[in-house]
Symmetry: C2
Subunit: 293 residues, 2 copies
């Protein structure tokens, strides 16, 4: 492999321009350079790229194939160069976004579309997990930016920006006995099984109201179990209203529940990691998404 990128460029440009001379003009080089560049390339490859019997050189069969390969090489090079420029301008080349699985992922779809259009060369990685996962991933640099529900204090290395609030809804199955008491008291709730969210890693579980409760590590599993009549639960409103559960769940009044039923959604990042331009943009864009919430 003795050929150079210059030779490939001379080759491709000459094909595109129709002649070596035109190629040389396009490249701003002497014709003799293009001529010998291609001659050397042919010598290296071991066969002729052009049939020179006509007035203008025409690609040989092998030349056609090599043209495709050469273009592929050059376009890879251009990609490298483009990303190098982005990097040297201080823009991020790769970002990992960690999203709490309780965050309605659909609401982020148009955000992801925006990202793909605005930063076409960015390598975006999206990972989902529980609140604990998100915090841990940001802290150990597995992820750069996290979107999560704020339930308990976070590590001191993390910076949290609250971007919206969600109410909890009290839900039961349409067949559940509690549907007879639309405004259940604490005592009434206590008679039935409660399904409580619990972070996967076994951190301190949420406080349960009913003495009879199960822990489940996903709101989506919880609503699934609730819809089958296993018990009642407090889940974020957007999950209660999810299309999957439409018609299967009944929402009851939370008038007699003393606990705070509001959770905050926030964006986290490491304190010691500066925000590059893309991360800044994402920060604002995600805030905008949930502004009305």
């Amino acid at each position: 492999m003795n050929w150079t990128l210059d030779q490939l460029e001379a080759f491709v440009t000459s094909v595109k321009q129709g002649s070596f001379s035109a190629g040389a003009r396009k490249l701003g080089k002497a014709q003799s350079r293009v001529s010998s560049a291609i001659a050397n390339l042919e010598a290296d490859l071991g066969f002729e790229l052009f049939d020179r019997s006509a007035r203008l050189p025409v690609l040989t069969v092998l030349g056609e194939e090599m043209l495709v390969e050469a273009q592929a090489v050059l376009s890879q090079c251009q990609r490298l160069q483009a990303r190098a420029i982005i990097g040297s301008n201080g823009e991020e080349l790769a970002l990992t976004l960690a999203v709490d699985e309780a965050v309605p992922i659909l609401s982020l779809e148009s955000f992801f579309c925006d990202v793909s259009l605005r930063f076409p060369l960015l390598k975006l990685t999206i990972i989902n997990g529980s609140q604990d996962d998100i915090a841990r991933w940001i802290e150990d640099k597995t992820a750069d930016l996290g979107v999560l529900f704020h339930l308990k204090p976070l590590s001191e290395h993390l910076e949290l920006a609250i971007i919206g609030q969600f109410n909890h809804a009290l839900v039961v199955s349409v067949n559940h006995p509690l549907t007879n008491t639309p405004i259940p008291t604490y005592a009434q709730l206590n008679q039935y099984r409660q399904l409580v969210i619990r972070n996967r890693l076994g951190g301190a579980p949420e406080k349960a109201i009913s003495v009879q409760h199960w822990y489940v590590d996903s709101y989506y599993h919880i609503t699934g179990l609730v819809s089958r009549g296993i018990g009642w639960a407090l889940v974020p409103e957007h999950i209660a209203n999810d299309q999957w559960n439409h018609g299967k769940l009944v929402e009851l009044s939370t008038e007699h529940i003393p606990d705070s039923l509001v959770v905050e959604m926030g964006i986290v990042k490491r304190l010691d990691q500066g925000k590059g331009p893309i991360m800044s943009w994402m920060y604002d864009a995600i805030k905008d998404i949930f502004k009305g919430s």
Copy 2:
């Protein structure tokens, strides 16, 4: 874009080997070359690829990304080089195989597997068409090799090798009146509609037996129509026995049909195009597939 492939190679190799010196040894070059190659590369890109504060250089965040890009460029280059060697050895880089749509394509599947394993860098194109299409495509160099049923004389520019014979079966729907006459005479057949194959391009159609006949350009359409009781037809046995038609068709005796009911399958190529090693191999491999037919 001022960097060279040598610089990328020095970069990638040094990362893989763990140090510039080790990289230089691996590449058989002086250490100073690798050192300055990487320094020049960094100068061109506009940022540092390595953090040199430790004893051994470690990749920066941007360096990690550039490593991926550089590897992509080099692997494209290796592909180009590999195909160039193949080409300079006289092996084909790309072949187009045209297959008559009446040929049971499933019987070629293991052949295609073989090809992909044996010639991993070959660009194979497979196109399907009627017999006329195949012949035309070979002649106008759209395809290099064709597999077809031999029904009528081919152009003098083509070379045909017969590789097998197939009998025609006389088929009707299970509900068709002809099922009452298992050995139908010419006159009996003449009373019912015949479905006759006809090449798409409107060449001379096959001779029809029944005065009442439709022309259809695909054996698969014909068997479909036959199975719905539209008429009777002569189709290659493997098509009559196709799983799609299983149980819907009845085969009748062809004892009273005077016409030749044997079609030959063949491989065609242009007379003036030499067979490269891959084409020769394909030629033999395809022959082997249908040897028992």
